[in-house]
Amino acid sequence: MTQDKDKNKAIAQQLKDLTAKKGPVSPTLLAYYKDSNQKHKKVLDSIKEKEKTVPEISAETGLSTDIVLWHLTAMKKYGQAEVILAKSGYLKYIAMHEESKS
């Protein structure tokens, strides 16, 4: 516990020194991150219960199809979604449940 506290303190100090050295994180980057995270969550929520194709998720979330595919690609890579294969047309994606991730 104390070890964790010390570690967190050291990290906080490094980040403080970093800000002193390089200035704060750019507002543009923070805005990108916030926007991207919201979109990621929207896409993930949309496939929590039922598998869907990119156009279906796009119609439901209002996000463009290329943005939806981008987030699904990230989810697939980092174990948040799995793919149901198809021979033609569109693949379907479904969120992975916590137990199947491990």
Partner: protein, 429 residues
Amino acid sequence: MKSDLDKQTDVLIVGSGIAGLQSALDIADSGLNVTIIERSPSIGGKMISLSKVFPTLDCASCITTPKMAAVANHPRIKTMTYTEVNTIRKTADGFDVDVTQKPRFINEDECISCKKCEQACPVYVDDNFEYGLGVKKAISIPFTNAVPQLPVLEENHCIRCGACARVCPKDCIDYLQEPIPQTIKAKAVVAATGFEIASMGIKPEYQGETLTNVISSLQAERLLAPHGPYGKVLRPSDGKIPDSIAYVQCASSRDQSIGIPYCSRVCCMYAIKQAMLLAGALPLGEITIYYMDIRAFGKGYEQFYAQARSMGINFVKAKVAKISEDVDRNPIVRIDRQEEGSIPQDITHDLVVLSQGILPSRKDFFGLDITLNEFGFVQSNSPTYSPAKTNINGLFVAGVIKGPKDIPDTIMEAGSAAIDAINYIRENL
């Protein structure tokens, strides 16, 4: 950040594509010490990102990975990745090479490649290994079989949330690292800096930078690679499995108006290879190659071309005048047929691949007064007898740095550069 660069080496190799890897192994096996400087976070160059190779259709990473491992484990080869060569100076006893080791923002000696930092990072960004098609995190190990398996924290994407540092079991995240410039002394240098492909925007009429379903040949390689971004061939605009795919040959080669008047040599063959792989991956797909002439120049290449034709790949002799798109973002290719009368025709496809020209990766050549040919590739001093020799004594070249070529020719030249470097050191130093 501790730097483990040796300040002295027998042969310094710039670039670790297949040319640099092969030269390094040949030179080190002869008993000399080698230092490889690679600007990317992993060794392997372009070849490690290819799907399969023509004309054998062997898996590219199955050939490259063992060479990468052999280099990484060789007792006489020192590999410095994520390090840029800035200038090379000729001295009385060899070369002084100024390099800059870029910060990964991790302690390389302590990292155990567990990827916990990558899992914890909340920032998703475009993956440059997938040429923009895939996604990675602001801190990530570049790709599955990268050598070394060390993450890079991309400063310009990091929101400094501290998540990576909190989960790292070895406490090796170091946000305060700085680039380390240093100079290495080498008796001889082999330059193997390879190539870039022409920009997608070089021909505005093809709209390669604006149309989502017009992709580059290297992106197509990733779509076909076993660990590609989507795990299947999909088009980037909406994830549709494409039914109709077209290749535009000479998309930026053999064209004086854009400054690339030469033939890029490998585009016909890689387009045929990709078309054959697509035919296998998408049995229902229709694949068309728009070409002016097919240049199948190497051993077994003509048979490879004939095999593609017999598989039903559609070869259309036509000039592509422009590419636009319809409301569903399907690319529309305006062609001018060269065989059945020249009537312009608009043909709609799901996905279009531009077979772009090959350009030298550097034109300033590290401040050295090296002789380049009219296209910016390094000119050999003795093309017939010692093709790796340049006008600078002790500096040798291998691979596409000398001009567009395929992997077999690159490997052959790498061996020739190695022999020249070994002989040069034995005879002169």
